[in-house]
């Protein structure tokens, strides 16, 4: 196995290297004036280690860089590193317990001092300080030590063989900080360094000139940037605030801005705006899947403290036949058309990408089959005995509560699914919860997605990077949230199967892309067969850029703005 082949096989589309674009538009640094970017959720800090939010990570990626970045096709590209270490080139130890990176020569921080391996070591210490509350510390999981072999060589040792070692200091979520700037900001002192957090010194194409938290950031081209003639823009105005529709309008209709991020609005409205001819809508697909979780435990309030725990299995949803019927009744293509447009694809897998891991065993769900769903329920013996249109199991009506976070598209999806389920004799009560409560972990709130005090819930999840090992481990028995774990855990639907847990352990010890892919597909199919998760839509990031903006290659595997150094204006 080679790493390259593994990653390249993950690539579904033709790779266009960014260099090909940039070559045609060379010139001196800063020749294209100002670039206006709007993120309708405004960044609150520029230190991605203190806030793990997408908006912070992506805005910081203009300044802070890491050893490698994932391109729009999911390929790992050397960034601050000279090349990607593999077993073949000797950078990765044969027993997979250590990896050695070599920095590019002559990389300067924007203040003119050289980047050294000591900065990388410092970053690791900064993020793993127990008092710091580092949001990205999972990137350093399994890292035993990071040391500087010399000024340009970094050796990362792991405490166990690591089949996928490209996490620490790779990708926009774990960039390298300047040791000199953050030296006094370790641990509990992190919040006192407002100036550093709001204006980190980086190696990237831009430097921060003004930062207003949750409002606007001004960047200027970095005079010490390592690539000649880049970036093309002299300044960047990074505005935040408003909502998705108005951000789309400012790029596609008024032309006030050049790039807008995360435009999840009604597809007909977005298409209408795009038809004005000022800008283009672009999408990038990663691993995000909008899915239904079917509660395997009983959320009946009468159970008190034992509500929604494994002590009380769900009265009817544990039967896969019901889940199967619920899945068959859903017209996923219509959900895409109504709510997602170009930003969504029908999927029957909880793990739809990278392509090498995607199973094809479940593709039957792509077509709606109401009659088939009714037949499944009839065959399983669930009949409407009292003529109210709702089927019963032993006298108990099949009625479910269906919760999700508040969001216009999700509410439309809920309404459609409710209608389809009513056609197969399942009654649905809808509920939507403010996202900050739903996704918040407050153990006092009954409405969090971990507590799952409902029968069905819907949200999107994904994993960062290209390796699904940690993601697939979410559905171990031990990950089930319960009062004993303060409702922490990621196995929301309370799926528990010892055979699945065995596969999780097997995956952690297996190297080799093909062998790993086999296991991952088996796990995915096991989850699908249990119908405890019903995947609906493979979601992509939707952004828009002005037609005068060139070089945009958005990636869902890394920061969307990963190649902003190559962007240029065609005005």
């Amino acid at each position: 196995m080679t790493l390259k082949s593994m990653l390249m096989s993950a690539v579904a589309t033709v790779a266009l290297t960014p260099m090909a674009f940039a070559d045609a538009h060379e010139g001196e640094r800063g020749r294209d004036g100002q670039l206006n970017i709007i993120y309708w959720q405004a960044p609150s800090t520029l230190n991605p280690y203190l806030s793990g939010g997408t908006k912070e990570v992506e805005s910081a990626s203009l300044v802070l860089e890491s050893l490698g970045r994932f391109s729009d096709t999911g390929e790992l590209m050397p960034w601050l590193a000279a090349d990607i270490p593999t077993v073949e080139n000797g950078g990765l130890a044969a027993d997979l317990t250590s990896i050695t990176w070599t920095l590019k020569e002559g990389v300067m921080w924007s203040d003119g001092t050289p980047l050294t391996a000591a900065d990388a070591v410092f970053t690791w210490k900064y993020c793993t300080d127990p008092d710091g509350g580092c949001a990205q510390s999972s990137y350093f999981d399994g890292v035993e030590n990071i040391e500087a072999l010399d000024d340009l060589t970094i050796k990362i040792s792991f405490n166990a063989p690591k089949p996928f070692p490209y996490t620490a200091l790779v990708g926009s979520e774990s960039p390298i900080l300047q040791a000199a700037q953050f030296a006094d900001c370790m641990g509990a002192n992190a919040p006192t360094c407002t100036d550093a957090n709001f204006g980190p010194i980086g190696t990237g194409p831009f430097v921060v000139t003004e930062f207003k938290a949750n409002d606007v950031i001004q960047f200027a081209a970095n005079e010490n940037f390592r690539e000649e003639g880049k970036p093309a823009f002299a300044t960047v105005n990074f505005k935040g605030g408003g909502d998705a529709a108005s951000a789309a309008r400012s790029v596609l209709e008024t032309g006030e801005y050049d790039y807008a991020w995360n435009l999840q609005i009604d597809p007909t409205v977005l298409a209408d705006m795009e038809s004005k001819g000022l800008g283009t809508v672009v999408t990038a697909f990663g691993t995000s899947v909008e899915r239904l979780h079917i509660n395997q435990s009983n959320p009946d309030p009468a159970l008190g403290d034992e509500r929604a725990t494994l002590k009380h299995p769900h009265p009817f949803l544990t039967d896969p036949e019901i889940g199967k019927a619920m899945s068959m009744a859903i017209d996923r293509a219509l959900l895409v058309e109504v709510g997602y447009g170009a930003g969504g694809q029908v999927t029957c897998n909880v793990l739809p990408a990278p392509a090498v891991y995607a199973s094809t065993a479940n593709d039957g769900c792509k077509v709606q089959d109401i009659a088939g769903a009714n037949a499944v329920l009839d065959a399983a013996g669930y009949m409407d005995t009292n003529g109210d249109g709702i089927r019963e199991k032993d006298g108990m009506p099949l009625s479910v509560t269906y919760q999700t976070s508040t969001n216009a598209v999700r509410q439309d999806t809920q309404a459609l699914v409710k209608q389809w389920w009513s056609e197969i004799g399942i009654d649905t009560e809808l509920r939507n919860i403010d996202a900050s409560v739903f996704f918040g972990g407050d153990p006092a709130s009954p409405d969090t997605f971990q507590k799952f005090f409902a029968d069905v819930e819907m949200y999107t999840n994904n994993f960062a990077g290209v390796d699904p090992e940690a993601y697939m481990a979410n559905w171990r028995c031990s990950e089930i949230p319960s009062p004993d774990t303060q409702w922490q855990g990621s196995n929301m639907q309370r799926f528990c199967d010892p055979a699945y847990d065995a596969l999780v352990d097997k995956l952690a010890q297996t190297a080799g892309i093909d062998a790993r892919a086999e296991i991952v597909k088996e796990m995915n199919d096991m989850l699908m067969a249990s119908y405890s998760i019903i995947p609906l839509i493979h979601r992509g990031g939707v952004s828009a850029h002005a037609n005068t903006l060139g070089g945009v290659l958005i990636s869902d595997w890394d920061s969307e703005l990963w190649n902003i150094k190559d962007w240029y204006s065609t005005k």
């Binding site: 793990g52 407002t194 409002d215 105005n237 505005k239 108005s246 008024t254």
Partner: protein, 341 residues
């Protein structure tokens, strides 16, 4: 009057302390979490660590007392140091830190103040200046065409929420009107813009037109209704007839006698609205991306940023208590018969 004012000012302190405690309880009890908005890829153990480092899990009383100390003792000293260059020994003390930005809450509030005061304050002023003459004239010429039109427009204006009227004016002035036209207006407010000369003032003026228009519509509608109703009440009073019989000129009757006596409800509404200026206008700020104090508050609420929500609402509370006191004092000035002592 003076003793009343002083007594009320002294009473303000326990009132405010009590209010701050109630606000604190509400904010802490509400089910929100500072890590709720992070991507789901961040595992629960890490979230717990983040909460730990923010001090979310400390006992309620400890958090409340710490907040009191920071807000009433540390932050005022820092303000004084900033203004006069004194050294009051605040070096090294932990300031009131916002969960979301990990930066001092008060710095953010100072940073947001200008755009909120510019936009919401101007709208308020414009609203009052339009509303009071409309209210007076509508009442004086009750059921005239002017009054009917004024009533109609202000009631429709009041019943249209800013999330609709804001988008409507953006569609008209930013989308339908071509960008190079004189009538085109920017839909996104530039908070980094500084007014230094005539050109930059013109830009500032242009970008303020739409948000001020939308906000002033609501304010005008409300105040003019109260002014009209109150004027009508007084126009029918006996003293008006007496004044007219005495031969006071019509203008004097209306502007001196009736107006002064009609101002009490209007003053109340205006005084109650002033703290609202500092509270910002959540929806209008969002529609036009003004990013003032209203946007700061809503983002903090959504992000479970307890110190920020607590501080902002408390400052708001101080202003409410103070302006209610101002209104009470004004009652006494407008109507000398009102005695508090």
């Amino acid at each position: 009057m003076l003793t009343y004012t002083i007594r009320r000012l002294i009473l303000t302190v326990p009132t405010l302390l009590f209010i701050s405690f109630v606000i604190f309880l509400i904010v802490k009890l509400s089910p929100s979490d500072p890590t709720a908005n992070l991507p789901l890829t961040i595992p629960p153990e890490v979230r717990e660590k983040i909460r730990e480092s923010l001090g979310v899990n400390q006992p309620l009383t400890v958090q409340y007392l710490l907040w009191l100390k920071q807000f009433f003792w540390l932050e005022p000293r820092i303000v004084l140091e900033g203004w006069f260059g004194w050294d009051l020994g605040t070096e090294g003390e932990i300031r009131l830190i916002s969960y979301q930005t990990r930066s001092p809450v008060m710095d953010l509030i100072w940073q947001r103040m200008p755009q909120t005061l510019w936009v919401v304050g101007t709208a308020y002023l414009v609203g009052i200046l339009i509303a009071i003459p409309i209210g007076i004239y509508s009442a004086y010429k009750q059921y005239s065409v002017f009054d009917q039109a004024g009533t109609f427009i202000s009631m429709v204006g009041f019943s249209v929420p800013p999330f609709f009227s804001g988008v409507l004016v953006i569609v008209i002035f930013s989308v339908l009107i071509p960008t190079d036209s004189f009538w085109w207006l920017p839909s996104i407010y530039d908070t980094t813009h500084e007014v230094v000369d005539w050109e930059s003032f013109k830009f500032q003026f242009r970008q303020m037109i739409m948000p001020v228009m939308v906000l002033a519509l609501q304010i005008t509608a409300q105040i003019s209704r109260f002014a009209r109703a109150s004027m009508l009440d007084n126009l029918n009073q006996d003293y008006v007839r007496t004044a007219r019989a005495k031969g006071v000129r019509e203008r004097g009757v209306v502007m001196k006698h009736v107006l002064r006596n009609s101002m009490i409800p209007v003053v109340t509404v205006i005084a109650l609205g002033i703290p609202g200026i500092f509270g910002g206008a959540i929806i209008t700020e969002q529609v036009f991306k003004v990013n003032g104090l209203g946007q700061l508050l809503i983002i903090a609420i959504q992000g479970g940023d307890v110190p920020m929500v607590q501080t902002l609402t408390f400052i708001f509370a101080i202003l409410i208590v103070l302006f209610n006191l101002v209104a009470d004092v004004l009652y006494g000035l407008l109507d000398p018969r009102i005695r508090y002592d």
